[in-house]
């Protein structure tokens, strides 16, 4: 059941083909290993090796690389402390893994000839749904039926509630969509744009320096967006966790 679809090599969309490397099946489930899967593991390995190697000396006065690891750690720790408070400590490894996975996938995608895992809605919706399921599960186990009060804003007249509650419920279930589409759309748009301008460089001959200069600037912007979108995804996760733990808007 290998993908039969074909996309032209010169198309700006060609970079988003997941690049199947085999055709593994497991009980009817397609578990083919692909470039996408390889880059996911690449992100896992780079994040782990970075954190382990930079802290190998355990210096009292950190060097540059150890400072990066410590900043990375404290960035997420502070984010959780500020948005959730002390109850958020339990979820620190999850939030940290989520941020590290996304930021590493985004940054690895910035390397030439590489592949951007997070440019696929399948991946981002997978991450967003896991956050959605986790937060809903925490909300229900922590508050039981009282969790439903989350959909009923305080101080709203009863007649208005007939309108407000369905909107609240709908917006709650829209969360994983907006959460995932934001990341996927940013990554796809950025990489498509770089590819389009890259094609211009070739097509315009001598005048190709203009789109080339633009690409240099856009690459810098894309690196910033890679980190920023990882941050946005993570802080939204923290806010959703806070909603589930504290049941407040």
């Amino acid at each position: 059941m290998s993908a039969e679809r074909h996309i032209d090599h010169s198309s700006p969309m060609h970079q988003f083909v997941i690049g199947r490397l085999n055709d593994w099946q497991l009980g009817g489930l397609d578990v083919s290993f692909s470039k996408a899967a390889a880059f996911m593991f690449g992100a896992v390995i780079v994040a782990t090796l970075f954190l382990v190697l930079t802290t190998s000396k355990r210096s009292m006065v950190p060097g540059r690389w150890q400072s990066v690891a410590e900043l990375w750690y404290e960035f997420i720790a502070d984010m959780i402390k500020e948005t959730i408070g002390s109850e958020g400590r339990k979820y620190f490894p999850f939030v940290f893994s989520l941020f590290s996975f996304i930021v590493m996938c985004n940054l690895l995608g910035m390397l030439p000839y590489s592949y951007t895992v997070t440019s696929h809605i399948a991946v981002t919706i997978g991450l967003a749904l896991s956050v959605f399921v986790l937060t809903t599960f925490i909300g229900i186990t922590k508050h039981g039926m009282h969790f439903l009060s989350f959909f009923v804003p305080k101080g709203v007249p009863f007649v208005m509630l007939l309108l407000v509650v369905p909107i609240e419920v709908l917006s709650y279930f829209m969360r994983p969509i907006s959460h995932s589409v934001r990341l996927f759309a940013n990554m796809t748009a950025g990489h498509t744009m770089l590819k389009v301008f890259g094609a211009f460089v070739v097509q315009m001959g001598v005048f190709g320096v203009l789109p080339f200069a633009l690409i240099v600037a856009l690459t810098g912007l894309e690196v910033a967006i890679a980190v920023l979108q990882a941050y946005v995804f993570t802080i939204l996760t923290c806010l959703y966790l806070n909603d589930a733990i504290h049941l407040e808007h």
Binding site: A37, T48, V52, R58, M60, A122
Partner: protein
């Protein structure tokens, strides 16, 4: 767009779950405890250093107060020594002046004695001369020898009369 090729969803999600669980386990079990350990060690060390600094400061303050007490004591002792030395010097000078005045008094007394002795000698000599003169005068007048003892008695009487009369 390859992102909407539905047949690619399943393999991506499968490997996403596997790689994310792997990352979670590696972070939770290996990487995060290491970083946390480094940070905690440093925070502990900083707290220890601050404690030690506070302790040393307290110690330094104790030493300073001890030093100041010792200084005050030394000053008081010096003052006492100075006062004592002054008193001793005064006593010594008084003693010396007493000694000197005693010596002077003794010398004055000796001089007075010498004067008295000289006066007595002179008086005795005067008596002898007066007696001789009176004897010689009387012998010339009466042309006979006069007893020396009588003359002497007469001279003594005259001296005494003269002494009491004058």
């Amino acid at each position: 767009m390859p992102q909407f090729w539905m047949e690619d969803f399943a393999p991506q999600m499968v490997w996403l779950v596997i790689s994310f669980i792997a990352l979670y386990l590696l972070m939770a079990r290996v990487a995060l405890p290491r970083v946390a350990n480094v940070l905690e060690t440093r925070h502990g060390r900083i707290a220890d250093d601050l404690d030690q600094a506070a302790q040393l400061k307290a110690q330094a303050e104790t030493v300073i107060s001890e030093y100041e007490a010792a200084l005050a004591e030394a000053r008081a002792q010096a003052q006492a020594t100075i006062a004592q030395a002054g008193a001793e010097a005064a006593a010594a000078s008084e003693k010396r002046s007493a000694e000197v005045s005693e010596v002077l008094a003794a010398e004055a007394a000796a001089a007075a004695e010498r004067v008295t002795a000289a006066k007595n000698d002179a008086l005795t000599e005067l008596r002898g001369v007066a007696t001789e003169l009176a004897q010689a005068a009387a012998e010339r007048l009466i042309d006979s020898s006069v007893d020396t003892a009588d003359v002497q008695a007469a001279v003594d009487t005259a001296i005494q009369q003269n002494a009491s009369g004058s």
